[in-house]
Amino acid sequence: MSESIMIIGAGVAGINCALNAADYGTKVYLVDDTPSIGGMMARLDKTFPTNDCSICIEAPQMYEVDNHPNIEILTNTEIRKVKKTDASFKVRLVKKAKFIDEEKCTACGACMEACPVAIPDEMDGKIGGKRKLIYMPFPQAVPNVAVVDPECRHGKMREDGACVGGCVVDCSQCRECPIALCVKACQKEGKDAVRLWQSNKNLNLEVKSIVVASGIMDAKPAEGLHGYGVHQNVITNMEFERLMNAGGPTEGHIIRPSDGKHVKKIAWYQCAGRGLADGVPYCSKVCCMVAAKQTIITKEHDPSVETLIYYNDLKAYGKGFWGFYEKAKENGVRYIKARPYDVFEDPETRNLTIRYEDVETGNLMKEEVELLVLSTGLIPSDRNKRLAKVLKIELDNLGFFKEEDPMMAPLETKAKGIYLCGGATGPIDIAESVVQAGAASMKAVLRIGD
């Protein structure tokens, strides 16, 4: 019988689950389908209600994972097949090519400098973040190596100039590229770590239990919702988070997409899209505190910025949350109980005029702002359906993973030996994720419920 466990997803829940189990003495395979561990928390600027810098507290844990003798990190790796036996799971995984020799790459960045193609970064596309086709997921990435966008490898970006060598051969036909600038740059550095002909690798592992920590996603607003996708200066709260992050594309300058101007008046719409056909049907717990945080940090950057929060019900139900809300108000944030109606853009200034009903007075009001932030909420990860099928466990009616007996056996699924934690269970904040990670690690190392 195998004594090791597998954790699917290496965000803050997966990382904490792994550290607990590994410290306990259990061998852990920490699997993530993205190129780096870190998850959603690595994208955040600050964490409420203390305004701790997110990466400052997560990166040390990421390095600890990287150096832990009991943890094997498998990034860019997907679970393909899981076969349950009496006391273990036989798991087939595919490690997708990063087109990089991870042993040799030192994250020096020469290849990225050489790469001629910059595309919008998925982390912060709308607010102008760019990355090259060969790139580091983010500066503190673990493993700290570059990764080649597979789109490049297959020549799909040729129109944008991925291939600049004048080569007539289709990249996807060619096994070894003599002209790719990244390969050359790397060779010039003496590393030769770029491996354009690297293929996916199959892995077979046997583990006694599995923890699903596959995370959660921020909802993208429907096209046109409050002007999102129509007016440039309407962004989501996650995009705003990247905007105010000193490690983000604007180095923490809160500037707006239309003209790169420092913003002086910003409004937040809470519960954006909530209850609409393609909106989030439930309260996501975190958005009220996220908005409070974002206004406080905005004021820290520049106290003269005017901030307004249009909200419905205020959720300040966790430890220290109320004080945090009070702090936002003390800093001059205006909270308005409101029902939003519509948003117009001034074609000259690109400012936005918001029409809303003030719930307390019943009056229809107007307000002109320079940037509108939509708090859209958290939705099930798009991985959930596939993972549920592979693991042969169920999802609930909202699309999160379902527990078999939530009252007496929390975090356990109908498959004995498969446990849940973090965003896989529903909308959740970091502290709750860490609690669940601790609980799931206990269950996984003991294989509770068997």
């Binding site: 607990n20 410290d23 306990y24 600027d45 964490t47 203390t50 810098c53 997110s54 990466i55 400052c56 507290i57 990166a59 040390p60 844990q61 390095y63 030192t106 020096c108 960045g109 500066p139 700290n144 010039k188 550095e189 003496g190 590393k191 000193a246 490690g247 180095e251 923490g252 049907p281 439930y282 309260c283 996501s284 717990k285 019900d313 205020l314 959720k315 300040a316 139900y317 430890k319 949350f321 109320w322 719930v359 307390e360 007075t361 909202l398 939530p406 009252m407 929390p410 909308p427 502290a431 709750e432 860490v434 609690v435 669940q436 990670a437 601790g438 609980a439 690690s441 206990m442 509770i448």
Partner: protein, 701 residues
């Protein structure tokens, strides 16, 4: 020069990342001339597998007993090189890391000569410290397998069950005669769309703990005294309860003391009018068979009047200046409203609320309540409902902000959703465990985000409502998580700490007790002869005590005063007036420095940075020494508030820097030349800007 010290210096090119800016051969040649240096090597990629094995060969061949590696950053690569020197047979504490990529080549790309000079300085500082390095070792403290769980509510029972399941012993201390805690007063609990009778849950859990061979339960029990630390607690119980007279030997402790309702005295006639009750009292009424009339009507016990109108007011005595949201009141009020409706559908129930905190699937309960006919009225934050007694009946006057008008609702029973506080025993227990708690008696966890069930001191965990009000489900999760946290050392049989710890030389100690008071981890204790001693396994090595000790008798392994002083002197050996001496904490400030490097932010090359684990390690005397040696300026950089890897180190540093400025002024130095910044690990721009500003203001450009 000490003859027996043989330092090996390994300078990395990092391809062209370092060598493209810094003249590495020059640095190598310079290093060869430094005292005690026996061997210098240039490596194209020092972290590559072949370079690492070459390094091991060189260490053996040249009998090196200290190693300086000049390359990228210790934050990512120190563990790798530590492992490597260890494999070469050298104690890993004999390695010193010099950062010439993030601190030099990446940030001074346009000034290759000055960059090379800076790299030489940094290597010289590294060698100066390396010569003084001493062997260190990881420290182990044995931990056995007895866990004390304080509190026998659902969190405590869940924790005990999970501890016991591993074959460890769990002892539950319950101050009441019965296990179950606050759930004993509750009708039902729900999670998502599931609901269960609280009594059934309590019974199931109590059966499990009572029949578990590894669980001992002491009811009516209270703690008299707790002495010791992880692996070595002696817990004495008060004589009037269950449990043995002699002290218990305990390895780890889980605090699960729960919470209680704050009686809303003075609100809406509560306390004098029997028709005004709290949610928990309503739950008790709902559990009480005497509250049902034979006809099925709901009534107060011993009353013949049926209850027809119930008004629930939420956020009573909470969400105000004193305290925040009660965390659980909204779902509880909805659940109880629905219970009343289920009991007798013609009971009219109104919930008066400010905001409805119903998250995720709790909305289904809200929908069900609305469907069952529960009426919801939202009142303004600053205009609470008013209650009067009109000819023997309570009348509630409330302003409905959604409809914009006032309503008067009659009420036979007024239910107040009130706030909670920690258990009465919290004050006593926090003293016994030397931990802290809020004004409302909730224990303070180690870290709001990443240490939610830990206390700062190892070996004690926290779970359930003792931390903050929470629902049944979250209490269970925390109970299991707390069990995991204390089980790790019990499973391993020890806790291990890095060898960077405090060491007290008692020669000059005058037992002032400052170190004992200042230590954030309770790692210093005053032993019987009143002399302080460091419990090394608990010490995290922040160095706060060492910097504060008035007699300078505390040293930190790997960051001793002598070693730091050697670095200061080496940094300012030449052209001190052109140099900024910097102390940066390993966790965030150095992270910011590295981030500036990775982002290739260019700044003037005056800084000579010395790494400390925490900004609290930097003593005033070291800052003064920098000015004595003629430094143009001194920078102390720590984590951005409120983040600190050592809880409050940056706060300690902040106060100390203020004192340092006063002292500098007295001694005739310009206090404005001492800079202090708080920098997050993401804030490369802040560090780079500071460097630019300092260079300008100190007239270095």
């Amino acid at each position: 020069m000490r003859e027996d010290i043989r330092v090996g210096v390994f300078v990395c090119d990092c391809g062209s990342n370092i060598a493209g800016v810094v003249d590495v051969p020059q640095v190598v040649a310079y290093a060869k001339g430094l005292p005690n240096v026996a061997f210098v090597d240039e490596g194209r990629w020092s972290c590559s597998v072949d370079a690492l094995s070459d390094m091991q060969e060189s260490i053996k061949e040249h009998h090196l007993n200290r190693v300086v590696i000049a390359s990228c950053t210790p934050r990512t690569h120190e563990p790798l090189f530590k492992r490597n020197v260890k494999e070469a047979g050298l104690n890993p504490y004999l390695l010193e890391f010099v950062s010439i990529r993030e601190q030099v080549s990446w940030v001074h790309m346009n000034e290759p000569e000055m960059a090379t000079d800076k790299a030489k300085d940094l290597v010289r500082m590294g060698v100066a410290k390396a010569v003084l390095l001493e062997e260190g070792e990881e420290i182990r403290l044995p931990v056995k397998q007895e866990c004390l769980v304080i509190g026998g509510g659902v969190a405590g029972m869940t924790a005990a069950l999970n501890v016991a399941q591993q074959g460890f012993d769990a002892i539950i201390l319950e101050k009441e005669p019965h296990l179950g805690g606050i759930l004993n007063k509750v009708t039902t609990v729900s999670h998502d769309q599931n609901e269960m009778a609280a009594a059934d849950i309590v019974k199931a859990k109590v059966d499990l703990v009572e029949t578990h061979p590894n669980i001992t339960i002491y009811r009516n029990a209270a703690i008299e005294e707790i002495e010791g630390y992880i692996g070595n607690y002696k817990v004495t119980l008060k004589p009037n309860g269950d449990g043995p007279g002699e002290p218990l030997d305990i390895s780890t402790i889980i605090v699960a003391t729960g919470m209680k309702e704050i009686e809303p005295e003075g609100f809406y006639g509560y306390g004098t009018d029997p028709r005004v009750v709290t949610q928990l009292q309503l739950e008790e009424l709902l559990r009480n068979a005497e509250c049902r009339m034979p006809s099925g009507e709901f009534r107060m016990p011993n009353s013949e009047c049926r209850i027809q109108d119930v008004v629930i007011i939420n956020c009573v005595n909470s969400k105000n200046e004193t305290r925040g949201c009660c965390n659980i009141g909204c779902p509880v009020s909805v659940k109880n409203a629905l219970a009343l409706k289920n009991l007798k559908n013609d009971i009219r129930v109104h919930i008066l609320y400010r905001d409805l905190s119903m998250v995720k699937e709790e909305h289904f309960h809200l929908d069900a309540a609305k469907e069952a006919g529960v009426k919801f009225i939202r009142f303004p934050d600053d205009r609470y409902p008013e209650v009067t007694d009109e000819s023997g009946r309570l009348c509630v006057r409330v302003h409905d902000i959604l409809l914009g008008r006032e309503f008067t609702i009659p009420s036979d029973l007024l239910v107040l959703t009130t706030a909670f506080k920690g258990d009465d025993t919290v004050d006593e227990i926090k003293g016994l465990l030397k931990v802290s708690a809020s004004a409302d008696g909730f224990f303070q966890e180690a870290h709001a985000k990443l240490g939610p069930v830990d206390f700062p001191a190892d070996g004690i965990s926290l779970c359930g409502c003792a931390k903050s009000p929470k629902n049944y489900r979250e209490s269970c999760e925390e109970g299991i998580a707390a069990a995991m946290r204390v089980s790790i050392p019990m499973k391993n049989g020890y806790i291990e700490a890095e060898g960077i710890v405090a060491d007290i030389d008692l020669t000059d100690c005058n037992n002032c007790g400052l170190c004992y008071k200042r230590c954030p981890y309770n790692a210093i204790k005053v032993v019987e002869e009143a002399e302080p001693a460091v419990i090394k396994a608990l010490c995290k090595g922040c160095g706060l005590c060492a910097a504060d000790c008035p007699k300078e008798c505390i040293t930190i392994v790997h960051y001793s005063d002598e070693q730091l002083l050697a670095q200061v002197e080496a940094a300012l050996e030449e052209e001190a007036d052109k140099k900024i001496l910097g102390f940066v904490c390993h966790w965030c400030a150095l992270g910011g420095v590295d981030m500036a490097g990775v982002s290739r932010l260019q700044y003037p090359p005056h800084a000579r940075l010395i790494r400390v684990m925490c900004s609290a390690r930097v003593p005033i005397r070291l800052i003064e020494r920098g000015f004595e040696l003629g430094a143009a300026g001194v920078l102390v950089a720590g984590c951005e508030f409120p983040t600190c890897h050592y809880i409050t180190g940056n706060y300690a540093c902040e106060t100390r820097v203020k004192r340092a400025k006063k002292r500098l002024a007295k001694r005739g130095y310009d206090p404005e030349k001492l800079w202090n910044i708080w920098c997050s690990a993401a804030d490369g721009p802040k560090f780079a800007n500071t460097m630019r500003e300092m260079a300008t203001q100190l007239d270095l450009v």
